[in-house]
Symmetry: none
Subunit: 400 residues, 2 copies
Amino acid sequence: MNWENLARELSIKTPSKIVLVVLDGLGDIPHQGQTALEKARTPHLDKLAKRCVCGATDPILMGITPGSGPAHLSLFGYDPTTYLLGRGILEALGLGVEVGPEDLVARGNFATLRDGLIVDRRAGRIPTEENQRLCQILNQALSKQTKPRITLYPGKEHRFVVKFSFPGLSDALTDADPQKENKSLTKTKALRAEAEETARMVNRFIEQVTNLLQSEDKANTILLRGFARYPNIPTMQDLYRLNPAAIAHYPMYKGLARLVGMTVLEVGPEPADVVFTLTKNFDHFDFFYLHFKKTDSAGEDGQLESKIKAIEEVDAILPSILSLNPEVLVITSDHSTPCYLKSHSWHPNPFLLHAATARVDTVDKFTELACQTGHLGRFPALRAMPLMLAHAGKLKKFGA
Amino acid sequence: MNWENLARELSIKTPSKIVLVVLDGLGDIPHQGQTALEKARTPHLDKLAKRCVCGATDPILMGITPGSGPAHLSLFGYDPTTYLLGRGILEALGLGVEVGPEDLVARGNFATLRDGLIVDRRAGRIPTEENQRLCQILNQALSKQTKPRITLYPGKEHRFVVKFSFPGLSDALTDADPQKENKSLTKTKALRAEAEETARMVNRFIEQVTNLLQSEDKANTILLRGFARYPNIPTMQDLYRLNPAAIAHYPMYKGLARLVGMTVLEVGPEPADVVFTLTKNFDHFDFFYLHFKKTDSAGEDGQLESKIKAIEEVDAILPSILSLNPEVLVITSDHSTPCYLKSHSWHPNPFLLHAATARVDTVDKFTELACQTGHLGRFPALRAMPLMLAHAGKLKKFGA
């Protein structure tokens, strides 16, 4: 059963609207007590749950903890084991770097080279400002050459992203990184014949940068890894005939949304800003992806109270979203981020779907355990998109 | 995991009997109240549910609305995205046309050709009797030629089915239909080299018919679309070593049953007729597919009361079916047809399995939501067949 083929065959354009609300990292585990969702006061979510069909989704497969990229791809209906997002791409998206079909990106470290050996893979963790100064110098020097166009984007401390723009670049490259210290500067090697020219180009670039940085004390060379081209991914327009928009504040989620063809709308950091942007643009799109980050950040920090507050903030704006009367409203998460683990986890996400065509079940509150007892049962997150499209009347019948 | 390979490897012949009861389009959504199944008085179904294992099935994938063909193939254990049934085949089955391995069928319209342009794709929706008269004339004229044998079967108004019988015909053909009016008569084209001879044969046929109809006022040519050969589908004898029979009154379901190797038994239109035919033939087969159409028709018409009545009629004959003591009895549906939507939908089907080997659960009534809470949970309809075979003792152990 190939959902992508079915989607292309069955999707139709209709005026109905879908709103997908993602509370990042929402799910939790009840370590010594209750989960954040169980503790939070969520009168609007609970009231809504009574009029919905609910379930629990596995982002990838039971037991598999996803990164943000694969978890979101699943929710958007793309099999994340087919569409692999290279580390370089995600790092670039995270820094807000725009990546196009002719671009090759990689993660970089400034490093210290002494007597032909890498003595510090992180150049003594130079300050971010120092990193920004170096990237500026290098970009200025590199701007004189046009083939390929190369740009460095500073990250935190010693980290950066580099983007090579030229037709026909390949990402079949080994890391130009010895991985350990006191080894010599490592060149990239082509993994396939077609990548040989790209490998030579990358190695010339490393040499050139090392020359330009030779007067620096610590950051006098670079290491590159995670070479990645822009993934060849069909857009939501192509697959579902949607005109989708993203309302997300953080660069990585904006980048992920752009990757699947969403228009990224300007929005402020607070839940009220999200409502403002959604309301203002409601007539112009038929699919809205709303991303709320604070639940995940609180989970990563192990801050149960912050997570509860972040949930209650979203609960408070729910009536405003409902007042727009979208044909389909889904509230769920990309993955769990339990406070106890301080990291992403494999636990399933609560899932709630509101639509006139929902076979309303007996779930009466929006929590991890309650949702799982709903009529949707436990299901792969990859099935969320067909469900949303079906309830919005956007899928034709399969066969006769 | 390929179920078809497992089926071939593990199926064994035993005297045990399976009865699969399909209430077509049974599932509904509780639009402003209860579903038909919730409202219906079903004392026998509810009593049975207490002694069964229950669940809810997705016909294809969550969110995908199936046609009758794919939905039934799933229930019979055939992946409907592997065995695609062309429109022409289903149309032919619906008219009760027998289709064999050397046949090519297509849907046809009588149409009006004027000055080289199709001015009416439906020939003014000629009366069905007129259609029957034209098909008779054409069949008589065509009966003089033997290679290929060509027969037209009249449908309603301007619609008919045509069957070409000859070894080696291909269905890799484009529609011979301009789709829009005021375009010229369109020929079919071969989509692959192997179909070129068939394309020439079909185009000669269209020319020949247009000549024969030249004195007609409205219906003076034909359009053909949905060319389909008999699908190359293994029989239930092959796959499961069953000797299966179908008790269905409507032509399409009889045709679907024949497609997978069932013997189609004569039966009247009422539930009592079904019991009579089942009882009479119970010793001669080991698998019975019982099809009840009225639940679907009521759903398509949006008639909740008729749907309730249709359910209660089947409930009433349940004791007679149980008195035959089949080793396995399953009661389910092929797809939902909610009264609110007046069409097939993607909502899952209630599923009940009665067998001495059932791990009886706590479900105490046969409704959409109650069944879903059963021990089988929510599962693909494609798993119904392995479950039935297993509970009938017809599947060997896999591996040692």
